[in-house]
């Protein structure tokens, strides 16, 4: 051929990453997290959503035709990654109508579920969707602890059955575990259990307040001592020592190539940052994605625009979440103090391992914080003294 012949270019392992990076640079909508319903079969004690019973009637949810129209729009916008979440996505009666439509539109599907409703028949239908992964929440290796967190008897039994049913049908599964006071010391056991179930293990360290402002979940947030213990066990300290941050860099990928859609059609920048960008009933997704001022506002949040974080000594060991700052400090540009606590715990572990000097400074805003009355939502600090620096 005098033109370049047909060819797969995947020999370059970075090519896909380059495409994703380019999508972000170009503000292309590449990834969508869709909360199909807030109905749920469980009542987890730490849940950030105001969930409803699985049999609740919620006429205000997007109906199936509206969901399919949104899927058409997303496909036309070039969106590839699509995650169905909830609540419990499978509690939505029309779930498979919507998911099968999405499959026909060739999205790369993920499903977040608690697994309760996954029977052999449901597992077979999920397998036919060829999802990239099904991510299942499991909180403990002990049935009693898991069921206490979910507030649903037999949930451990049903959830672990879901892992097995999906694995038997060749579906890739991920065990997803928010680590809390109740389960953090099970970290190693959970990892082992995930391997036994044939699942990848993924944990999350941050329990957040409810989207409606409720603070009840925060009593489950790990203490400072828990965090230090976990980081001693779980992190590769050398990676953190080698980490660099640039002043002009964004601290997360928010507003670049991903959105969240809630059951009522509201569009948000991410699960944590519930700043409305529009509603798919009122506007096209293209209009929301191209015209909402939210993306620009959040896209401008680089480290050097954050008045406290920009001079913080813990920058390189901090994973800052704008959404947490917004929810818990009511200021997108403020330090998210829960992330500050996590960074302090990483600092302590690196000091212990001799990778940071013992006198590595504790930032002024945290030294001051330790002398103030501590709000309940900063309970990460409330059960332990700040380390002396």
């Amino acid at each position: 051929m005098s033109v370049e012949g047909p060819e797969r270019l995947d020999q370059d392992p970075n090519l896909y990453n380059q495409i994703v990076a380019h999508a972000r640079q170009q503000h292309r909508l590449f990834s969508v997290h869709w909360e199909l319903t807030y109905r749920c079969t469980e009542r987890c004690s730490h849940c950030y959503l105001d969930v409803r019973p699985a049999n609740a009637t919620l006429p205000e949810e997007l109906n199936t035709a509206e969901c399919c129209r949104v899927l058409d729009e997303l496909a036309a916008l070039g969106t590839l990654h699509l995650t169905f979440s909830g609540g419990e996505a499978l509690a939505r009666r029309e779930f498979f109508t919507i998911a099968e439509y999405a499959h026909a539109k060739r999205f790369l599907l993920r499903l977040f579920t608690n697994g309760i409703l996954i029977t052999p028949r449901v597992a077979a239908r999920i397998a036919a969707l060829h999802p990239y992964a099904v991510e299942i929440s499991l909180y403990s290796t002990h049935a009693e602890t898991h069921d206490r967190i979910t507030r649903l008897p037999r949930s451990f039994e049903l959830t672990t059955r879901a892992f097995r049913l999906l694995r038997e049908r060749g579906v890739r599964t991920v065990m997803k575990t928010p680590l809390m006071r109740e389960n953090v010391r099970e970290y190693h056991a959970l990892k082992t259990f995930a391997a036994e179930l044939g699942a990848q293990f993924r944990y999350d360290i941050t329990i957040t307040a409810q989207d409606n402002g409720g603070l009840a979940p925060l009593q489950h947030r790990m203490t400072y001592d828990d965090l230090v213990w976990l980081f001693r066990e779980a992190i590769d300290p050398n990676l953190w020592v080698a980490r660099t941050v640039k002043p002009a860099a964004r601290t997360c990928a928010i507003a670049q190539s991903a959105i969240v859609i809630d059951p009522y059609g509201n569009v948000f920048p991410c699960v944590q940052t519930r700043i409305p960008a529009g509603n798919v009933r009122a506007q096209s997704l293209r209009a929301i994605w191209e015209e909402s001022p939210v993306w620009q506002e959040l896209g401008n949040l680089t480290l050097d625009t954050l008045p406290v974080c920009r001079s913080c000594e813990l920058q390189t060991v901090c994973v800052r979440c704008h959404g947490l700052a917004y929810v818990e400090e009511a200021d997108l540009r403020a330090p998210a103090l829960v992330n500050c606590g996590e960074a302090l715990a990483r600092r302590q572990v690196l000091v212990e391992k001799g990778l940071l000097p013992a006198d590595f400074p504790i930032p002024a805003h945290l030294r001051e914080q330790s002398s103030l009355p501590i709000p309940e939502f900063l309970s990460v600090f409330s059960h332990s003294e700040l380390p002396h620096g």
Binding site: M1, S2, V3, E4, G5, P6, E7, R8, L9, D10, L15, Y16, I19, H22, A23, R28, G78, T79, L80, H103, R106, F107, L108, L109, A128, H130, P131, Y132, G170, R172
Partner: protein
């Protein structure tokens, strides 16, 4: 390969064309393929409605290439996609 068979994306495939390049994800194995412009055009034509021969004819008409070479390259390329379960062939009658 039956040149009258009609290639269509395999059910495991998730795909989008990004900046003129088809990004094809084989969901079951987690493999990502990125195609060059000619490969992308062939991919776009694999919708189950056209035969291998018809796809090659379109390639020959759109790119500066002889009909024989287009057919040879198209067949070879589709063979690779078939082998990796990126496409499946529907028979001429079906």
């Amino acid at each position: 390969m039956d040149l009258n068979s009609r290639p269509a994306p395999h059910p495991q495939v998730a795909a989008r064309v990004v900046d003129g390049s088809a990004v094809i994800v084989l969901a079951d194995g987690g493999e990502v393929n990125v195609l060059n412009p000619v490969g992308t055009r062939i991919w776009e034509l694999c919708d189950g409605s056209r035969s291998v021969r018809q796809i090659a004819e379109i390639i020959a008409s759109e790119f500066d290439v002889t009909a024989e070479r287009a057919l040879q390259d198209t067949e070879e390329f589709l063979g690779q996609l078939l082998q990796s379960n990126a496409v499946e062939l529907k028979n001429a009658a079906g």
